[in-house]
């Protein structure tokens, strides 16, 4: 009896166990995939790990552009129970227009769209308020927002990003791939309350590469401040400044005005010029600053030397059957150094004619004109240099004084660097490091012989010394060299040159071992006050003074603050140059170069008259008076500069040309 009962019990237990076992087999083997999928779908959540966009630093490590996390709100309009109530609720929390939001939601709902961005980049409080609603049709997603903490500083260099954080201008655009990074993905196991228990990385997140620029924010700020002030003071349309290390091409400051705030998206009706980088994208006729190229080519290809006498025709020259006058008063025969210091157009034409068409074109190209510099910024202009085959008879003289050619401010800085670094063309560099890796500089190309570059430096010093056209660029405590330029702007509609000018100044300091070059351009200035010597040279002075101090460049002149340069008189300001062809017709040879020679206040010894004296006597006399003489040639003194009776300023030297 008992055995029978036990047998029954054992049978029931066995059947029960078998049922459980079968069910386990069904769950674990037969339907394993199905249930595993269901479990995964419920428990495992794919979480995207956002990759922050790389920060952009200046050369001192100050962040110029950085991304910070933020959140955005999207909804599923198909799951919202009542669009009217939903839109009212969202509008209330997110401070939005309820009607407009309802319209968008209705449209999405009617078109069966299950996703709609409501508001991007919301604040922390707004996000918390939305979370507290605990509505399943509202989704809050992690995003990041680009910030430019310095506001408008270096806006044209940095560029900006769109709503998806994709670069659409400047470095942000060119280096978008490096800056962007790669978001990662993690699979997170969650509990019933959707709390994370464990997570595994499915793909690693790669943050955007931080970029270190060659820009120094302190110099950039000064450059922007000064160019903005100059543009306002001279009613110019735009302006740009480039400060560069001449040896490695590192761009220390690149300012363009008008400017914009990259934190703000483009507004309707906004001036497009404000988003244009005038330093690299807007070519212009350089005018007299280009004489530096003419004279460099002359030193290289002809037997002309700084002391070589150039016949400036007393203000007139007959060229191809036409007589060209200098605008106000002309010069007779003056040394080539004086042609540059006085910015004589006719002198430059004479020198250019000696150089010849082929050499001129060759050196223009060698200096980097007519080709992009390769700076990593979008929209760089190559300028315009016509092929020699397309040149007219007037092209060579025009080009000699900076017309019939268009250049950018950056190209001028590149050319100035050739003079400053001893004759090498260096490519401008804007990116110092990508991550921890230094971006190598390109091998420079020799353009000029070192002695030519040094000679050019000496001649360019004459421009900023009293009697030159760029005395306002002279620096306290530092020697410097430069060249002014004031080119009339050509009106292509009226087909003649207007009385608006491109005032510019290119220069470097200190003279013997230049630490930096700078080019300042003001576009669309008016009147004599808008000439390069008056409008652009002071900007050069302000920027370089600050730059030399910030970069701890040792002084090469004694500590003596020179007296402030006075504004030149009318006669002195009319140093040169409208080449008049007499017909009143538009003339390509017209050059509004009227850069001023400006006398300094009497601050030093008076220059004696050396004419007719032997070299020994000149040196003895100069030594007795504590003057420094730069003799050239042999025989007796024929020409001297500054002229007898003028007052020498601190650091100024007297050039004396000897001849038999």
């Amino acid at each position: 009896m008992v055995d029978r009962r036990l047998a029954w019990l054992a049978g029931i237990v066995l059947i029960w166990g078998a049922a459980i076992f079968l069910n386990i087999i069904s769950l674990q083997i037969v339907h394993h995939q199905e249930y595993a999928k269901l479990a995964t779908a419920r428990q495992v959540v794919a979480v995207e790990i956002p990759a922050p966009r790389g920060t952009i630093f200046d050369r001192t490590g100050q962040p110029l552009a950085m991304s910070v996390p933020t959140e955005s709100v999207s909804i599923d309009p198909l799951r919202a129970p009542d669009l009217g109530v939903a839109s009212e609720l969202l509008a209330l929390v997110l401070h939005m227009d309820r009607t407009a939001l309802y319209g968008k939601m209705k449209w999405a709902h009617d078109n069966h769209h299950g996703f709609l961005w409501v508001k991007r980049k919301i604040g922390y409080e707004e996000a918390q308020n939305l979370r507290n609603l605990r509505l399943e049709w509202i989704h809050i997603q992690d995003e990041s927002q680009r910030h430019y903490p310095k506001g408008t500083l270096a806006a044209h260099v940095l560029g900006s990003v769109d709503f998806e954080e994709k670069g659409n201008a400047g470095i942000e655009q060119v280096l978008d791939a490096e800056l962007r990074g790669q978001p990662g993905q993690a699979r997170m196991l969650t509990d019933v309350k959707r709390r994370g228990i464990d997570s595994q990385s499915a793909s690693d997140m790669k943050p955007g590469t931080p970029i270190t620029l060659t820009i120094d924010e302190r110099l950039q700020f000064v450059a922007e401040r000064e160019i903005a002030a100059a543009v306002a003071a001279h009613q110019a349309q735009s302006g740009s400044v480039v400060v560069m290390n001449p040896y490695n091409g590192e761009v220390l400051a690149l300012a363009s005005y008008p400017t914009y705030d990259p934190n703000l998206p483009p507004q309707p009706g906004e001036d497009k010029a404000s988003r244009q980088n005038h330093a690299i994208s807007v070519p212009f006729e350089p005018g007299s600053v280009f004489k530096v190229i003419t004279l460099s080519a002359a030193l290289e290809t002809t037997d002309l030397r700084p002391a070589s006498m150039i016949n400036c025709g007393r203000g007139a020259i007959t060229l191809f059957g036409r007589t060209i006058h200098e605008a106000h008063h002309g010069y007779g025969t003056i040394p080539m150094a004086m042609v540059l210091a006085k910015s004589s157009n006719i002198g430059a034409i004479q020198i250019g004619m000696r150089v010849g068409q082929a050499n001129m074109h060759q050196y223009v190209r060698k200096f980097g004109f007519g080709q992009k510099s390769g700076i990593p910024l979008p929209g760089e202009s190559a300028g315009k240099v016509r092929k020699p085959a397309l040149w007219s008879k007037a092209s060579l003289p025009s080009m000699s004084m900076g017309q019939e050619i268009s250049v950018t401010t950056l190209q001028l800085a590149q050319a100035a660097a050739v003079i400053a670094n001893g004759g090498l063309l260096v490519k401008p560099r804007l990116v110092l490091k990508k991550g921890n890796q230094t971006v190598p500089m390109e091998q420079p190309v020799r353009v000029l012989k070192p002695e030519t570059a040094i000679t050019m430096r000496q001649m360019m010093e004459g421009v900023v010394l009293p009697g030159g056209t760029g005395t306002r660029a002279r620096l306290e405590g530092y020697t410097s060299g430069g060249k002014t330029g004031s080119a009339q702007i050509y009106d292509p509609v009226a087909r003649h040159y207007t009385h608006a000018y491109n005032g510019s100044f290119m220069g470097f300091a200190p003279l013997t071992n230049p630490a930096m070059v700078a080019v300042v351009t003001l576009n669309g200035t008016h009147g004599t006050a808008g000439f390069g010597g008056l409008a652009a040279a002071p900007v050069f002075h302000a920027v370089l003074t600050e730059a030399l101090r910030v970069l701890d460049v040792p002084k090469d002149l004694p500590d003596q603050t020179p007296a402030r340069t006075l504004v030149a008189s009318d006669e002195e300001s009319s140093d040169l140059a409208i080449a008049d062809i007499g017909s009143g017709q538009p003339n390509i040879l017209e050059d509004a170069e009227e850069d001023e020679e400006q006398p300094g206040q009497p601050a030093g010894p008076t220059v004696p008259n050396f004419r007719g004296m032997t070299m020994r006597a000149v040196l003895a006399e100069a030594s007795a008076q504590g003057l420094t003489v730069l003799p050239d040639g042999s025989g007796v003194a024929r020409v001297q500069y500054p002229p007898p009776g003028s007052t020498l300023r601190q650091g100024e030297r007297v050039r004396v040309q000897f001849a038999r």
Binding site: P149, K150, S199
Partner: protein, 156 residues
């Protein structure tokens, strides 16, 4: 049928002299009568006091084996389950720390942004102007902690 108590109450009310109660000898093994039932139950008292339990080492061993097996099973189960539970708890903690780490990193970035904004040259210049400060002239700043070759030379 009347019960005995009812019957005795009836006889006392008739005035007859109460009969002296005859107390029958109580059967010590008789249990209390069930009400209104003619069933009488008796229990049999068995006195086992004289019995002595004989020790059964086999049963004792089996008992201890069962206890030991239960403890072992418990230990095995604990050793299997504890890491899993600990892992789950650690997972919660880890996730919480990850979230906290991310929040701190976000906060750090926000603070860096604030710092950069506060150090912007525009702002510093405004502050300097407000306090009538001017930029020094070149060479006017003398650094006492001179960097470069001279410092190295002094160390050597």
């Amino acid at each position: 049928m009347a019960t005995l108590p009812a019957f005795f109450r009836k006889t006392s009310e008739t005035g007859l002299p109460a009969l002296s109660p005859i107390k029958p000898e109580r059967d010590p093994f008789q249990l209390r009568a069930l009400p209104q039932e003619d069933v009488f139950l008796h229990c049999k008292k068995i006195d086992n006091s004289r019995l002595v339990r004989e020790p059964d080492p086999q049963a004792r061993g089996a008992c201890w084996s069962a206890i030991g097996a239960a403890c072992f099973l418990l230990a095995v189960l604990t050793s299997v389950l504890v890491p899993s539970v600990a892992s789950t708890l650690a997972g919660y903690r880890l996730q919480a720390l990850r979230v906290e780490e991310r929040q701190l990193l976000d906060e750090k970035r926000t603070l860096e942004l604030d710092e950069a904004q506060l150090l912007s040259p525009q702002r510093l210049e405004k502050l300097a102007q407000g306090q009538n400060l001017v930029a020094p002239f070149p060479g006017q700043v003398v650094r006492l902690n001179a960097k470069g070759d001279s410092a190295v030379a002094m160390v050597k």
